[in-house]
């Protein structure tokens, strides 16, 4: 990849991102033309755009970027392009953590403000995903690298444990709690508020800055843990930083938007094809790509069967699952 074709790719990605953003503003259950957006303001369309659509689009952009970034980080940590947080059980762990907090929060009868409740749920999701990443990493990765089958199997096991615990919680819940938990589990971006948007953009910014500073260390880590250590990388510190970023990103995105799968697999895969595996270019490309993918998927999910909506996770899974199968099929190319 030479400098010029990389510059063209950046330009192209930015253009697509802006196009997605404006399409998302225009299309929905009610279509709003560009003229209405900017010049002919009427009350209804202003309310739709500013109160409903814009926060939702911004949430889609930031969680998409966050999930793609976490995917790239996880693939760097496991040194394997198949390590997607939703496949290795991290999202399931986050979901269990959040359900536990919701369950005990509601049954304890404390009346907490909306923001505090949200912070607690996020903390639960964060804790759940930290435990899941550490567990999968401990079992699947050794001196000789990551065993892909073990990684995926541990992911299945973690998802199964998290799933059964969540069902157990539902069994013990009363109707009101059950409704709260299941509504939240279905997830989606429709509950977006500017408060949510602020949180996810702040986290996206912090995670990106941290990872970008570590990008040459992440590159060195791809040589293997020992080789990275020989090059002078503090591997333990680096792994800790990556795990915290993944857990925070996946945890918050699960708390904000529920389970959205495969974004962390699809986006880094295509960005690696365009930009190459160097994290210095891959990470920013994943931020743009993730934002593009999730905002486009969300626009589709709002318009395909309007005025009803499809869950956005369904669309990403529809795109991601076949790619996953294709990658498994070609795994010899990646020496897995």
């Amino acid at each position: 990849m030479n400098k010029y074709s990389r510059q063209t790719s950046w330009l192209l990605l930015l253009c697509i991102l802006f196009a997605c953003f404006f399409c998302a503003l225009q299309f929905g259950a009610v279509d709003i033309s560009v003229r209405e957006l900017f010049w002919q303001k009427n009350y209804d369309s202003t309310a739709i755009v500013w109160q409903l659509r814009l926060p939702r689009i911004l949430l889609a952009l930031s969680t998409g970027a966050l999930l793609a970034l976490c995917g790239a980080a996880a693939q760097g940590l496991f040194r394997n392009p198949l390590a997607d947080p939703s496949l290795i059980g991290v999202s399931a762990g986050a979901s269990l953590g959040a359900s536990l907090v919701l369950f005990f929060g509601i049954t304890s009868g404390l009346s907490l403000s909306f923001n505090i409740q949200f912070s607690l749920v996020s903390l639960g999701a964060f804790t759940g995903s930290v435990i899941a990443v550490v567990l999968v990493y401990r079992i699947a990765t050794g001196v000789h690298g990551t065993s892909v089958p073990t990684m995926l199997l541990v992911g299945i096991a973690v998802s199964a444990i998290a799933g059964s615990f969540t069902s157990l919680l539902e069994y013990f819940s009363n109707d009101a709690t059950l409704r709260r938990i299941s509504l939240w589990r279905m997830g989606g971006l429709d509950g977006a508020s500017y408060y949510h948007v602020t949180i996810s953009f702040l986290l996206l910014f912090a995670s990106f800055v941290l990872l970008y500073k570590l990008s040459s260390q992440l590159n060195a880590l791809l040589l293997g843990e020992q080789d990275a250590q020989h090059l002078g990388v503090d591997v333990i510190k680096l792994k800790r930083a990556i795990i915290i970023v993944i857990a925070a990103g996946v945890g918050i995105s699960v708390a904000l938007a529920g389970m959205i799968t495969f974004v962390g697999l699809i986006v880094p895969h295509f960005m690696r094809m365009i930009m190459g595996p160097n994290h210095k270019y891959l990470l920013p490309a994943c931020v743009l790509g993730g934002a593009i993918l999730l905002s486009a998927a969300d626009t589709l999910s709002r318009t395909v069967i309007a005025p009803s909506e499809l869950p956005v996770g369904l669309l990403t899974a529809l795109l991601g699952a076949p790619l996953f199968i294709l990658l498994l099929y070609q795994r010899r190319q990646y020496q897995m």
Binding site: R79, H144, L222, L223, G224, G232, P277
Partner: protein, 256 residues
């Protein structure tokens, strides 16, 4: 003495892997470590590189304890070629070599000078822009050797450093084995000690001034190849073989 390994014992968990290993190398002197599988050769390399802490004894390089160097200092002085390479992302060959420059805070220009020189020496011109994942085993080995050399390569000043290699001749054909040996000779000129685990005993006997033999974690001998007896070699590998002498210089060669 430049590299001094002072009576070290290394444990992994509760198992003792190395017991009372002791040797010293003069500046620029290179060493081949030989021995049967599982003798502790790679563990010895790991201990010298500072990756493993010896239970007893200590290791000094140029009068500094290896354990007292910071991670960064160590990375600028000691480069290690591992036995197995895990990289499976499609970096270009040039970018893989670039990774070896990680510990150095130098300008992009001086990095490029080093990288270009190594690409020239290891004859990687044609592969320079190819993805690493598409290379053959021997080509990958050459690229990794170039990366490890980039870590301790200096274009002008001569700073002594330490190069540790676990079976560097693996999957290299004769031409590149010779090339690697030429590079070692050149490193000797800049006071760099090369320590290699070598599987092919004849390569070790012919090209290294000192041989260290390990068996079950114990040191069998540490000698110059010219002083070796057939008994010592047979004891190391618990098998019998013949020794003949090279027609040109009379140095020993092993024939099974």
């Amino acid at each position: 003495m430049s590299l001094v390994v002072n009576n070290i014992s290394v444990n992994l968990g509760k198992r003792q892997i190395l017991k009372d290993v002791q040797f010293a190398l003069a500046t620029g002197e290179s060493l081949a470590i030989i021995g049967p599988n599982g003798a502790g050769k790679s563990t010895l390399l790991n201990a010298i590189s500072g990756m493993l802490q010896p239970e007893r004894g200590n290791i000094k390089f140029e009068n500094n304890l290896i354990s007292s160097l910071s991670t960064g200092e160590r990375a600028r002085k000691i480069a290690v070629l591992s036995q197995q390479h895990q990289l499976n992302f499609p970096f270009r060959v040039r970018d893989v070599i670039q990774l070896g420059r990680f510990p150095h805070i130098t300008t992009k220009h001086s990095d490029n000078v080093v990288i270009n020189e190594l690409i020239g020496i290891l004859q990687l011109h044609k592969l320079e822009n190819k993805p690493y994942t598409q290379l053959s085993g021997g080509e990958k080995q050459r690229v990794q050797v170039a990366r490890v050399l980039a870590q301790i390569w200096h274009v002008e000043e001569t700073t002594s450093s330490l190069l540790l290699m676990d079976e560097p001749f693996n999957s290299l054909d004769l031409n590149f084995q010779q090339l690697a040996l030429n590079i070692f000779a050149r490193l000797k000129g800049v006071n760099t000690n090369v320590v290699c685990v070598v599987h092919d005993i004849n390569i070790a006997l012919r090209n290294f001034p000192k041989i260290l033999a390990l068996k079950d974690g114990q040191q069998i001998f540490f000698k110059a190849p010219g002083c070796l007896t057939q008994d010592e070699l047979q004891k190391t590998f618990s098998t019998s073989f013949d020794i003949i002498h090279h027609p040109k210089d009379g140095m020993p060669l092993v024939i099974l």
